[in-house]
């Protein structure tokens, strides 16, 4: 039984279009995408460079705005939210994991993980406690006091995953999360993501070029030239 069969759609995408203006040219990157992602799904978005997969990921994560169509998450039109409302929605609903980790180099692993919690009313003690739990969960609790440049690539990505998890979001947005890692470390990180999906019910949308990485997902969606070529379903 797939997650898509069992659970209701958490993310509903209808006729989603995205264009960019480059000089005098209007470049349409997504041409009316329709896609449902149920809660608890783990979707790998694959496709050649320029196919629009990162653009689609950014739209789902609420860090970019579509040119047309509808994008609902938990039944709420996020494409209609204003800047501040969208920021609040991201803080509450989405965790981001990037290819190059994007940790704050001046902060320890612990402080990096605490960052999303600064936007809440939690006191310092509670922030510390939750960050410690998140770091333990990704297996790097013993490195809490280390700064990013004192950690390996795999360890940095684990810190980034802990940061994405700490506010307990329903959706994890992963942009090539293993792109900078060797095979063994990549497998460890992907196994961790798989565990978060299976054991903690996190809905994961992951962009990847790597077919082996995509094997960890429940399903794969292929894009080419801004359209879905297979695997879509709603």
């Amino acid at each position: 039984m797939s997650a898509g069969d069992a659970l209701f759609p958490l993310i509903e995408i209808r006729r989603l279009r995205k264009s960019y203006v480059r000089g005098k040219q209007v470049l349409e990157v997504l041409h009316g995408i329709d896609l449902d992602i149920p809660e608890g799904d783990f979707v790998a978005l694959m496709g050649p460079s320029g196919s629009g997969k990162t653009t689609l990921l950014n739209l789902i994560g609420g860090i970019d705005s579509p040119t047309g169509g509808e994008l609902k998450v938990e039944g709420r039109r996020i494409d209609e939210l204003s800047g501040n409302a969208l920021a609040a929605w991201r803080a509450e609903t989405v965790g981001f994991i990037f290819q190059s980790y994007n940790l704050m180099p001046v902060l320890s692993a612990q402080k990096n993980v605490e960052l999303p919690l600064l936007l809440t009313d939690m006191d310092a003690g509670e922030r510390r406690r939750r960050a410690a739990i998140a770091l333990d969960l990704v297996g790097i609790g013993d490195r809490a006091g280390h700064k990013p440049n004192e950690l390996s690539g795999g360890q940095q990505q684990r810190v980034a995953i802990a940061r994405a998890l700490v506010s307990d979001p329903r959706i994890l947005i992963c942009d090539e999360p293993t792109g900078d890692l060797d095979r063994k470390t990549a497998d460890e990180v992907l196994t961790l993501l798989q565990r978060l999906n299976r054991d903690f019910g996190k809905t994961i949308v992951m962009v990847t070029h790597d077919p082996k990485a995509a094997e960890y997902a429940r399903r794969t969606v292929h894009l080419d030239k801004g359209t879905l070529v297979d695997g879509s379903g709603h």
């Binding site: 860090i63 960052l115 936007l119």
Partner: protein, 385 residues
């Protein structure tokens, strides 16, 4: 509430430790200079304040370099509220070498004692000063510095006064060594008083009978303003118009003779401020440019545009206030170590001016990069566009 962001702001400052350290040093140096200059300005801008002044100085209205005739003295003494009147003439001598300059004044010894009871000296030395025509008394600081003792002859080469025989070298016999009645006055005992008797008799005839200024000691300091007005009123429209002011204001007059010190001080402060504005502005812009992706990540995490703007502004304020605080504390230490005759202090006015300048500086240098950070588009920043 805002304290929770402090590690993030502080961490951003420490991202490039060397650059931050040099910027802080520059800010500290600039605010040390601004603090000192404004301390001077604060004193100059203070204006005449007679309140509590028990000693007034009466000088010629034209300039303190223009002498006044001695015949004015009994008329001043006759004004109600005046307790004692002395006179003083700046001598302008150097000892052996031009770099050995210290203040010397030709005075009537008894009148000096009456008008400056703060000076203390053994009774026999006071008597000796009064009775010795070529006598001089020296402050203890000076005596210690040059190793003078009672009985020594001290030749002074005056760059102002010539003797009848054309010589500018005057011989003075040390007859007393004075100190102050308390620590503050003892610290001021670095000058020399000369007996006006020899001074007036030996100088060229046309200069005789003239005093540089009159020193007026009043019975009640609260009457100082009225007495000053009475003295100046008495000689108004005469050939010898006077200007009477408090002793402190008179001392500041020396500085003001050099030019519009206030303007010069403000001009230098302005130049320093502009320089530090450019330097810190460049540093802040550079610091933000280097962290565009990091700021984009903060926005990804849910930080609003305004929060990001506030974080960058907070960084600018923290940097500027730390540098300014270090500079102003140094300025306070420097002015605090000055001897009492230099009444320059980094008082409340100076701190207020400096803090307002710092806030303006932090806003001006922080706002453009903060605005830029606020306007960052997440996807462009993450893509390195």
């Amino acid at each position: 509430m805002l304290g929770k962001y402090l590690p993030l702001v502080w961490g951003s400052l420490l991202r490039k430790k060397t650059r931050t350290a040099f910027t802080l040093l520059s800010l500290a140096a600039a605010f040390l200079l601004i603090g000192l200059l404004q301390a001077v300005n604060s004193v100059l801008a203070g204006g005449a304040d007679f309140l509590g002044a028990n000693r007034l100085i009466t000088q010629a209205k034209i300039s303190f370099t223009t002498p006044l005739p001695m015949r004015l003295m009994p008329q001043i003494e006759a004004i109600p509220g005046v307790e004692h009147v002395g006179h003083s003439q700046f001598f302008g001598g150097v000892y052996q070498d031009p770099k050995n300059f210290f203040p010397q004044f030709a005075v009537n010894p008894q009148r000096l004692r009456d008008t400056y009871p703060e000076w203390t000296m053994p009774e026999d030395q006071w008597r000796s000063f009064i009775s010795t025509q070529d006598g001089a008394i020296v402050g203890k600081i000076l005596a210690d510095k040059y190793g003078w003792k009672v009985g020594d002859i001290v030749p002074l080469n005056s760059f102002i006064w010539t003797q009848k025989d054309g010589s500018r070298v005057w011989q003075w016999r040390v007859v007393g060594i004075f100190s102050g009645r308390d620590r503050e006055w003892s610290d001021r005992a670095n000058l020399m008083y000369l007996n006006y008797g020899q001074f007036d008799e030996a100088r060229v005839p046309q200069a005789r009978g003239l005093a540089g200024v009159f020193v007026v000691r009043v019975k009640n300091p609260m009457d100082s303003g009225r007495i000053a007005a009475a003295i100046d009123g008495k000689f108004e429209n005469s050939a010898d118009e006077t200007k009477t002011q408090s002793e402190q204001e008179f001392q500041l007059g020396f500085l003001k003779q050099l030019g519009d010190i206030g303007f010069i001080v403000n001009a230098i402060s302005g130049a320093v401020f502009f320089t530090i504005l450019i330097l810190t502005g460049y540093t802040m812009s550079q610091a933000v440019r280097e962290r565009i992706p990091e700021l984009a990540v903060l926005k990804c995490l849910g930080f609003t545009d305004r929060t990001v703007l506030a974080l960058v502004l907070a960084e600018s304020f923290l940097l500027c206030f730390l540098g300014a605080l270090a500079g102003l504390l140094l300025a306070s230490a420097v002015t605090g170590a000055l001897p009492p005759e230099y009444p320059i202090r980094t008082d409340g006015r100076v701190w207020l001016f400096a803090l307002a300048s710092t806030a303006a500086l932090a806003t001006v240098v922080g706002l453009p990069p903060a605005w830029h950070a606020m306007r960052i588009r997440i996807v462009d920043a993450l893509a390195g566009r």
